[in-house]
Subunit: 763 residues, 2 copies
């Protein structure tokens, strides 16, 4: 059995020895350097750009402005979603490679192509821009008001999209007698992904075709979008994805692949490299949406919900990107996590003059979980019910089935996860110990649960293709469109292929890099879809390859496929387990046979029309220094039911990363924007307080391995979930310690001061 | 119809603009530079190597000698032949990556790995070697004598292999009365390929796997040989072949891929580049075998052959390389070109202390054609029969079928080719004009015919796999293992795929570079096999892809595959030619369909169990300056029947290149070796008189397009044939002008002086 083993990452050696090639390592030194001129206003129009001085600088090859688009003035979308042939389901196409209609401070209005970095930087400074300025709006509720500055012409009140959900009869249900009403607002702020490798790409043309090598999670989607942006057939675009140093959703957007391709075409197809600085990453890439939530719960005395209402206001920033799908996913979380017969929900995604928000680990769920699990804690407290008891009474029960996604909760998973969390925390004893604190430094213990959907069906296409090649030594080569982005996908995929084929994982050579010319189509790394969706694809293709191998074994051994199998790289007779021939000998003979030569390969597409719930919870013990307004996590555990683990060690590592991100989300991270100018105030890692290993205690992880029945390997999402329950667990611990429920993220000292002060704690 | 059109090469734009990436362009600047220390004796043993001084040089990383092989002391073969699982058919494995048993002047005894070229070169000079010297033999007949220095221990009299052919009863047949006996020796000398890009490769390790990027014609074979040389599973080797700047057979040998891989492993898998200099290319790569021929013909008065005997002595040089297969192919040419009931033939391939001979354009046939067509001319002259009449009487007749290869001459092709040649030369008139020359500058007109076998079945495996991907815009991507080596294969392959698929060639995106991890298995560029063998493969795979496309069209249009087809990139209904849907729309829908998503691809192996004769002739008019002993070609034409032309313009270009090579072979090119020391005397392009455009007149080409019935595209070999008939045509023109038959190549002034002097022409 290869699946379920903690096999060392297939890319470990190269990564540890520094030999792994990332995009910049692969770019030829002859590349021209492109740098982008970003707007220094947040809203307005470019009247003119004077490039005269810039062009005189030695080493400058060309300066291209928003007025030079010519045939390349094609609006394109940037969301990393599969294409839809249904126009109404296509992403909003509102970007140009360069624009004169400035919508945020940092918009792309011109670019310099130079022989070197220095010349490019000097030229940027030498360009003179004249603007017409418009009023700026950065707050989501302000932007929705009548009379607010309109950012995109077809969107009144800046509302990109509004969707509602409704179940039962909210208006009637709230009339029930004896209900306690809990009405609260919760707020989350934009944060940035902070992957180690900033976005980088390079492009060059060969004949009529253009190649873009990019640090992207979604090479096949990038091919399509570059085709749209350049207005050329999509097959004329080739996108190559090397190893990448993290993405977390930021690289699930098309960032600068189209611009880089355009710039290359502007210099006759010469190699052009575009490498984002950290400052640009913070401002001109993507952020996690800041979302304001308004939740009203009507609770019966017995601690059940009679009716609930949720309003969400998602700050999209300047362009549509992933847009409303994120708010919609967040909204969908409410009635599923705590089912209630009478629910109303509204989600609004709203343009503002802020940097663009897009996908980020969790895709709306971290925000939603902060709101809903803070609110749950508030309700429990108000109702005087122990928060875990309250949750277990209301959480999605075993057997629950969602009407839209058809997802089902097959197990008593929440209870199992919570029990594991409680055990690690010694919860009941600890709660008693912490019950009567009066000092200025107090400790609290809190928890939060979550659910997460695996993959994107039925909202979008779920399809993954893979190819397997039997090499002449009996090893196999595996290619698929789903991408390794640092998370260990290649290792999991290799284990899956080995499992089906009856060989060991080190006999699977996975091609890590995707090349849209040759890599089987897959949509890439997002929605925590890869082990689930890729699992179907690999199972199908490996099954086909095995069939072909056993067919050939029939030729060589006279034993038909009905009674043969592959085990430990041997063709065996299943009736008596006799080893008939090694896979190596078979592979060599098949390739070089003078009577029947075959290059044994298999390729297939798996279209998936299901997805799967992933569940879990976080428990955190937090020490609060009331006077210093500081919260510090002292002990923390995430418990996940992501089905069967493909590789426990990698699963653990993935959870730890997500927990770290959750701690930052809870306590320190925020993208600060000046409300007047729209300028980002902390566009670097000194001023942006990224959570590091210095900021957290030992990160404990535990798993409940309830195999997912819809998955060939029993697995479901784990990539994004770990980050979802952390912030509300910490928030609830702070409340347990201090009695103060902080309803805004991040809970940095400034915010705690505000809350503690208001609560009279600082007197 | 895409096949048959003179479409511009698919790689033209990039090659013309200098943007095509060759191996050196792709190698990262961080590569260590490896340089080889070649022996300065031709035969002996290395006693010791002192690397002390070399290692002290700044920038030297490591010096590796023949005494450092350790676990890598594995003998490997170098011939670019498909592997055989039958041990008796495997190539001779007589090479080590470095050796202490020196067998030629230039043998590989040590290597330096340095940070840069300068340090590597300095280090080479600083290494001190102590040898034990053995006697040297460079002549093939000397080497066969008893008591000659023995070069390989298992080969008495240095005979690598001896094969015989026999038909009828030679001993009896020569007793027939009235026979004229023509008994002559002919000699060809080694020449070098002189491709523009010298052999270059680089290697690096990733985990346990090693990647070699090499300028090779045979990436999949290189994978296997590197595996053999390193003693590791073949699947642990990845070979990548970029564009290459010519090979002509030299790169159908494994040159330094194993050494480079070994050196990389010696420095922990660091990137190591090994770039042959021109001097090394001349000495330590491969040459065309020099072969001595002895032909005895017994001719009846009516100009028919009663019996013939051929002896061939092929000078292999120091290592086996392609060895006897080249002499064997040459020997096989005799009884087929001029069938005769009673034939005896013997071919010997013999080791000498010369540089290693291997494959070179024509694979034994240029040598054999020089001998046989010189001899034919001699016989015709002696018999007093016009040489063309004599040939037409004796040449392989229409309907001839070879018992071994099953090849058949389906057409009256020789007559058709000769007629075209005669017409261009205005042969009959010109012959009259030239009949009574007495001056010191005389002009002659000569011709020679040839045949050539396409591909290598039934001697070896013939198998080619290909893969086609339908892109979302209806274009396709084509991958196959057969390699573009400058000859235009990619363009021909693209046209074939387009032809079958009903699309235009510019909608076929061929992946030019092979990567053994992912490229379907094919054995590579040799034996003029590619359009023939690749044609089967592409036809099969494109047929499969089309089937899948029409299956999908059935879903979208309700019209079943029985009445649909693809024409001009449209799915049409064949019954009324109605256009149902564009291939582009189908492709987009197939990929992104929410109901039935498929990445439509196809892959298959075609194993070919046939090959095909290719035919033709050359006519040359040559001016001979008797006093200056100089021959100059004034007018020349090659006429080929290579079946249907896939791309007439590329076919013409290929023939012109071959003719140029043939002119050099006839008049100037020779690898000169000092008999005492075995040292190559002209290891550079100044001293080696490569034929250039300055040395030849307009090169005329003509074709007879008799479609080959065994080929899906009616095509057969053209890569090597053009070079085969040129030298004997020129030789026969010189004889026609002067009466002197020069039986040795090249006919450079020194040689003509010898012959003219002996004939009394210089008195």
């Amino acid at each position: 059995m290869e699946v379920g083993k903690s096999i060392v990452r297939v890319d470990a050696f190269d990564k540890v020895t520094g030999r792994t090639k990332y995009t910049d390592d692969l770019c030829d030194a002859s590349a021209y350097v492109a740098k982008i001129l970003h707007s220094t206003i947040a809203h307005g129009r470019v009247l003119s750009i004077d490039t005269g001085e810039a062009e005189k600088i030695e080493g400058v090859v060309k300066v291209v402005t928003c007025f030079d688009l010519g045939e390349y003035k094609n609006y394109f979308p940037t969301a990393g979603h599969p294409w839809s042939t249904d126009v109404s389901h296509q992403d909003v196409a509102d970007r140009l490679v360069l624009t004169d209609e400035v919508k945020f401070y940092g918009d792309d209005i011109a670019a310099v192509i130079a022989e070197n970095e220095v010349a490019a930087s000097q030229a940027l400074r030498a360009i003179k821009v004249e603007y017409e300025e418009y009023p700026v709006v950065t707050d989501v509720l302000e932007a929705m008001k009548d009379g607010a500055p309109q950012i995109h012409k077809d969107y009144p009140n800046n509302i990109l999209k509004h969707t509602s959900i409704s179940r039962g009869n909210y208006a009637e249900a709230i009339k029930e007698e004896g209900l306690t009403v809990v009405d609260r607002w919760y707020n989350t702020e934009p944060v940035q992904h902070c992957h180690i490798e900033n976005f980088i790409c390079y492009a060059y043309a060969e004949g009529k075709r253009i190649t873009v090598v990019a640090s992207t999670q979604i090479p096949h989607i990038a091919r399509r979008v570059v085709g749209q942006a350049l207005g050329i057939p999509w097959g004329d675009v080739r996108v190559i994805k090397p190893y990448i140093g993290g993405g977390f959703g930021n690289k699930q957007d098309i960032l600068y692949e189209p611009l880089c391709a355009f710039l290359s075409l502007k210099v006759g197809g010469h190699l052009v490299k575009l490498d984002c600085s950290r400052e640009e990453t913070f401002v001109a890439n993507r952020t996690r949406h800041g979302i304001k939530f308004h939740i009203i719960s009507h609770v019966r005395k017995d601690g059940t919900y009679a009716a609930r209402k949720i309003e969400m206001f998602s700050n999209q920033g300047a362009y549509a990107s992933h847009g409303h799908s994120i708010a919609a996913k967040g909204l969908g979380a409410f009635p599923q996590l705590y089912p209630c017969d009478n629910v109303e929900g509204d989600a609004y995604t709203v343009f503002t003059n802020r940097p663009v928000a897009g996908a980020m680990r969790g895709y709306g769920i971290p925000q939603a979980m902060f709101a809903v699990e803070s609110h749950t804690e508030d309700v429990a407290k108000i109702m005087g019910i122990a928060p875990i008891d309250f949750r277990l009474k209301n959480l999605m029960p075993q057997g629950y089935k969602d009407g839209f996604s058809k997802n089902e909760n097959y197990y008593d998973t929440f209870r199992q996860c919570i029990e594991k969390g409680k055990a690690y925390m010694d919860y009941d004893n600890r709660l008693k110990e912490l019950s009567n604190q009066t000092g200025r430094i107090r400790t609290g213990i809190g928890m939060a649960a979550f659910w997460y959907n695996t993959a994107v069906w039925p909202i979008s296409l779920e399809s993954s293709s893979s190819r397997l090649v039997l090499n002449q030594d009996g090893s196999v080569t595996l290619q698929l469109g789903e991408t390794e982005i640092g998370q260990g996908a290649d290792t999991a995929f290799s284990q899956m292929a080995a499992e089906i084929l009856g060989i060991s994982t080190d006999e699977v050579h996975i091609v890590s890099n995707q090349d849209t010319d040759i890599t089987p189509f897959g949509t890439g790394a997002y929605a925590s879809r890869q082990t689930y969706i890729g699992g179907f694809s690999i199972a199908k293709t490996a099954g086909l390859l095995k069939e072909k191998i056993l067919d050939y074994a029939y030729i060589l051994t006279n034993m038909p496929p009905a009674i043969t199998d592959i085990k430990n790289s041997m063709i065996i007779r299943t009736t008596d387990n006799r080893e008939l021939i090694s896979l190596r000998d078979l592979a060599t003979e098949a390739l070089y046979s003078l009577s029947d030569s075959r290059h044994i390969t298999a390729e297939s597409t798996a279209q998936i029309k299901s997805n799967a719930y992933s569940f879990g919870c976080c428990f955190a013990e937090v020490e609060v220094d009331i006077d210093m307004c500081k919260a510090k996590v002292k002990k923390i555990i995430n418990v996940h039911d992501c089905g069967k683990l493909i590789n426990p060690a990698l699963a653990k590592a993935q959870v730890e990363g997500g927990m770290s991100m959750g701690i930052g989300y809870a306590l320190s991270e925020i993208q600060l924007v000046d409300k007047k100018t729209g300028k980002v105030l902390n566009d670097n890692l000194l001023d942006y307080k990224l959570s590091t290993c210095m900021d957290h205690p030992h990160l404990e992880t535990a798993f409940v391995e309830n195999p997912e029945p819809t998955s060939p390997f029993g697995t479901k999402s784990l990539g994004e979930p770990p980050t979802c329950p952390v912030a509300p667990a910490i928030r609830n611990a702070v409340m347990q310690a201090t009695g103060v429920g902080v309803n805004e993220l991040p809970m940095r000292p400034e915010k705690l001061y505000e809350y503690f002060n208001k609560a009279g704690l600082l007197k």
